[in-house]
């Protein structure tokens, strides 16, 4: 579409990046809140749209460029291939809705805070775009850390609350540690040229690493990018930072930023490294499943709606990592078709998650605006006050629960297919592992349904748990438009999978040298047939039509043959006389069975009232055991070392002189 104008997609994308930066600067300079929310953010959304279009156009071509910036002997290398194009597409398409939503969400903000926020927001966008475009280690690191930095400032937007500051600290610290690991990973892959020539990805592609060093690289990458993605045990920042951030930012971080880490893992594993070993895959698979289960179980026991979504993000990242692991296993055992299938599922899920999680986070933003409440225990019955929001959120919740015919199901379906077709792997143990992995995956998926019912039911259904909810208003127009974009994305991705897969094929073709299009195209667009029609097929559109048609038909028939009379009365509830809002399940109550079943895996602190308490008080909170295992000891060690060092700085000048003296003598002795 752009070639007709004689512009390369990459140029367009660079243009959008510059455009975003310009917008941000304009916002900072002008500091006019009305201008920022009504002009700049919509323009930013426009930029996203253009970016998505350009990425779509650039899927099937490779273009490179070199900017005269960066290090003297390592200028900025840019490269757009199918992989980057796909993730750019993800970025562009998902950020349209978010930017539009922001136009409404940030409207009330004081302009002194809004100016910097606008700049950070657009730097964040630009940084992510550059991460996908970077083709040398230096530019990648710069873009990567700029992204981290801007998002850190976004997270700490309302920094008056100490927990927000804590969240920001934890977030940037873990991100930085991860960045160091990534830097080392690039260092290991260094293409061996003199100077920094070897730090272009091109040199790394042509580098031949022995198996040991390749493994070191892979695990460094897994660690470094895992820190950003929230893979166990580096997830600690995620449930802190997402609730702390303003909702559009949470949506952006959870929906898009986590995917930059996925991009990094894919880029390093399949593009930069020339070998992939199956046992990496096994490791990633196991880790992914652990992460998924951990995330969903903890999501089930949360009572802060944004924390809940954050944990569910961990779960979805786990899914994606599982897919990557499966891809590696298949790829190393030369089952290219299966590798392509698993990879398709992975990418598809990344795309889906961007939309559904983005949608839900945006929704929490509107709820927050309307009620000022994040705690599930104070919400309820919002479907009556904010029906449109409720409808949009229902789409998101069903999608995230992985129900047909929405998009969450498609990627799960593909992934399960990949598992089902796995038998016949050369490694018997892996063969044993597969069914268990599939079971764990299915379990996590089912639990996701549980979580979503809790999330949606407690917030939107039932009676309001707080009197203040009586006069809440529905979300603003901009907000609803933004969420509508996301919801439409969820539905479209769910109903027309064949189209999506046709585009994903470019990526699979590039990474595992095989694609599904041959089989997918055979049976037409209506059916999704990744391998063969006899093996497996899925027609979401048919499904949707039948369900909708079926219910309409039934409704019609019932009206026709009988009647449609309705009377309203008080709820029956087995005839119990007084029903208050406090009688329905709280969020904690709804999560209680899960807590009971998995109590062994989480630190549960309970405070149970004695039988004769005048004012009985029950309190229960769930802690992350991994924190005590990994993080607390590190801090303790650091403090101990600091104390030890402190003793050296004694304050007596004689001691200081003694240091110098001893050093001198030691060196002299060393010279002799």
């Amino acid at each position: 579409m752009f070639a007709s104008f004689g512009v390369l997609p990459m140029d367009v994308i660079l243009g959008v990046v510059v455009f975003w930066l310009a917008l941000g600067t304009a916002g900072l300079v002008l500091q006019n809140s009305r201008f920022i929310t009504r002009i700049i953010f919509p323009l930013g959304a426009l930029g996203s749209l253009v970016l998505a279009g350009a990425a779509l156009a650039g899927l099937n071509e490779v273009s490179t460029a070199i900017l005269p910036l960066g290090l003297p002997d390592l200028p900025f290398h840019l490269r757009m291939d199918a992989l980057s194009a796909f993730f750019l597409l993800l970025l562009g398409s998902a950020s349209i809705g978010i930017s539009l939503f922001s136009a409404g969400y940030f409207h009330g903000m004081p302009k002194s805070a809004l100016g910097p926020l606008c700049l950070e927001y657009h730097i964040f966008l630009a940084g992510m775009a550059l991460v996908f475009l970077a083709d040398d280690a230096y530019l990648f690191m710069v873009a990567w850390e700029s992204m981290a930095l801007s998002s850190y400032f976004l997270v700490t937007t309302d920094h008056d609350h100490p927990e927000v500051r804590r969240a920001g600290f934890l977030y940037l610290l873990i991100a930085h540690v991860g960045a160091i690991a990534i830097l080392m990973c690039f260092g290991v892959m260094h293409g061996g040229h003199g100077g920094h020539g070897g730090y272009t990805f091109d040199a790394m592609r042509h580098g031949q690493l022995p198996a040991f060093w390749a493994s070191v690289t892979f695990f460094l990458a897994l660690f470094g990018f895992g820190a950003k993605a929230g893979i166990l045990p580096l997830h600690a920042w995620l449930p802190e930072a997402h609730p702390a951030a303003p909702s559009p930012v949470s949506a952006m971080m959870s929906g898009i930023m986590l995917k930059t880490a996925i991009y990094g893992i894919l880029r390093v594993t399949f593009d930069l490294l020339d070998v992939q070993l199956w046992w990496w895959g096994v490791f990633a698979l196991a880790l992914g499943l652990l992460t998924a289960l951990f995330g969903v179980i903890f999501a089930a026991v949360q009572s802060d709606m944004k924390r809940l979504l954050a944990f569910s993000s961990i779960e979805n990242i786990g899914f994606i990592l599982t897919g990557i692991g499966l891809t590696i296993i298949f790829h190393d055992s030369h089952k290219e078709a299966l590798a392509a299938l698993a990879l398709t599922a992975t990418l598809y899920h990344a795309l889906n998650h961007a939309f559904m999680k983005g949608l839900l986070f945006l929704g929490t933003g509107s709820i927050l605006h309307a009620t000022g409440e994040r705690h599930l225990g104070k919400l309820g019955g919002l479907i009556r006050r904010m029906p449109e929001l409720a409808l949009l959120m229902l789409v998101g919740a069903l999608a995230l629960a992985g129900l047909p015919p929405l998009n969450g199901f498609v990627s799960e379906w593909l992934l399960l297919q990949a598992f089902l077709l796995s038998p016949g792997l050369p490694q018997p143990y892996v063969n044993m592992l597969v069914p268990i992995a599939a079971a764990a995956l299915a379990l996590a998926a089912a639990l996701a349904g549980y979580v979503m019912v809790k999330f949606y039911g407690v917030i939107f259904l039932g009676q309001p748990r707080d009197s203040s909810l009586a006069e809440v208003h529905d979300a603003g127009l901009w907000e609803r438009i933004g969420m509508l974009c996301m919801a439409v994305g969820c539905i479209a991705l769910g109903v027309f999978p064949s189209f999506v897969i046709l585009h994903l094929d470019f990526v699979t073709e590039m990474l595992v040298h095989h694609s599904l299009s041959a089989s997918a195209a055979k049976t037409g667009w209506l059916l999704l047939t990744p391998i063969e029609a006899e093996r497996a097929s899925y027609g979401p559109l048919v499904l949707l039509l039948i369900i909708v048609g079926g219910s309409l038909l039934t409704a019609f028939a019932v009206k026709k043959f009988y009647h449609g009379r309705v009377r309203r009365g008080p709820a029956w509830d087995c005839g119990f006389p007084a029903q208050t809002a406090r009688m329905q399940d709280t969020a904690e109550g709804f999560g209680q069975p899960i807590r009971q079943i998995f109590e062994w895996y989480m630190g549960v602190v309970r405070q149970v009232p004695a039988p004769f308490d005048r004012h009985p008080h029950f309190h229960s909170e769930t802690h992350d055991l991994l924190w005590n295992i990994f993080y607390a000891p590190a801090k303790r060690m650091n403090d101990a070392a600091g104390k030890l060092m402190g003793k050296l700085q004694h304050g007596r000048i004689h001691i200081y002189l003694l240091y110098s003296f001893v050093t001198l003598l030691a060196l002299l002795a060393f010279v002799r």
């Binding site: 309820g380 479907i383 029906p387 409720a390 229902l394 069903l398 129900l403 047909p404 199901f409 379906w413 089902l420 016949g424 063969n431 044993m432 069914p435 079971a439 299915a442 998926a445 089912a446 639990l447 349904g449 549980y450 019912v453 059916l527 029609a533 006899e534 093996r535 497996a536 097929s537 899925y538 027609g539 048919v542 499904l543 039948i546 369900i547 909708v548 079926g550 219910s551 039934t554 019932v558 043959f561 009988y562 009647h563 309705v566 009377r567 309203r568 009365g569 008080p570 709820a571 509830d573 087995c574 119990f576 029903q579 009688m583 329905q584 399940d585 109550g589 709804f590 069975p593 079943i597």
Partner: protein
Amino acid sequence: MSYPSLLLQLAQNALVLLIAPLLLGWTSQCRAWMQNRSGAGVLQPYRNLNKLFHKDAVLAVNASALFRATPYILLACMWLAAALVPVLATGLPLSPAVDVIALVGIFALARVFISLAAMDIGTAFGSLGARREMLVGFLAEPALLMVLFTASTISGSTSLITIVETLAHKPFVLYPSMVFAAVAFIMVMLAENARIPVDNPATHLELTMIHEAMVLEYSARHLALVEWAGALKLLAYTTICIALFVPWGIAETGNWGALPLAVAALALKLAGAGAGLALLETLSAKMRIFRVPEFMGTAFLLAVLGLLTHFLLETAA
């Protein structure tokens, strides 16, 4: 798709819709006999539905659109599910659109909707029921999936048609994995259809009820639809059970001559299944709700074991 197959599909749709209450009635009738009661007759479910459809619907004051839409969606889902399972003949034109995984998905969709509807009014019972339903569901769903996986790994496909054809028309092989699967499936079936020992549709006892607690607020035609959907669900599970474990006698694609025989076989199998279900319910007692997770966990474990045994014993050959 050809006309005859389309015809067949429509026929099956109509058939399942009509005979679903019959199976329900037959089961309860059998149970009555086994418990030395003279039951209400096999047609009782139809009478109930008719009665309910005639009544005026009474909705709670704060019932939302979701609450009202749910029964229809529920019925549609279950109807689709039941219509997909090849009972008389393979080669249903719809089945390529929905394979076993999607089938499980449809069940999950229905479950989520009914649970949400239950929470809508905001009564103690409603949310209690919803929670318990989801609790049962999140363990039953993967177990069911595993059972189906066992079958589909044997037949190398996830489409029900292919599964049934392979199982039915291959020379008879005894699959140990399928034994595990069968046990697991039956446990799941009991749980999913609100049967003893997991749930007891006959009582409104707070401590025990799951399904009933969710539909308390429904009345008249809505309740009727829910009931009907329940019947369809039972039918769907039964037919899946038949299709997976005793598929013999089903008519192949296009082989019209075999249809009458297939009908007879189906009637026989359904009757047997109903009776078996009744027997199970009579023999076992309702268990405490807290034991349900263990029960379902066992089912899940058995299903996984089934899949494992398949990989251990049957792929090696």
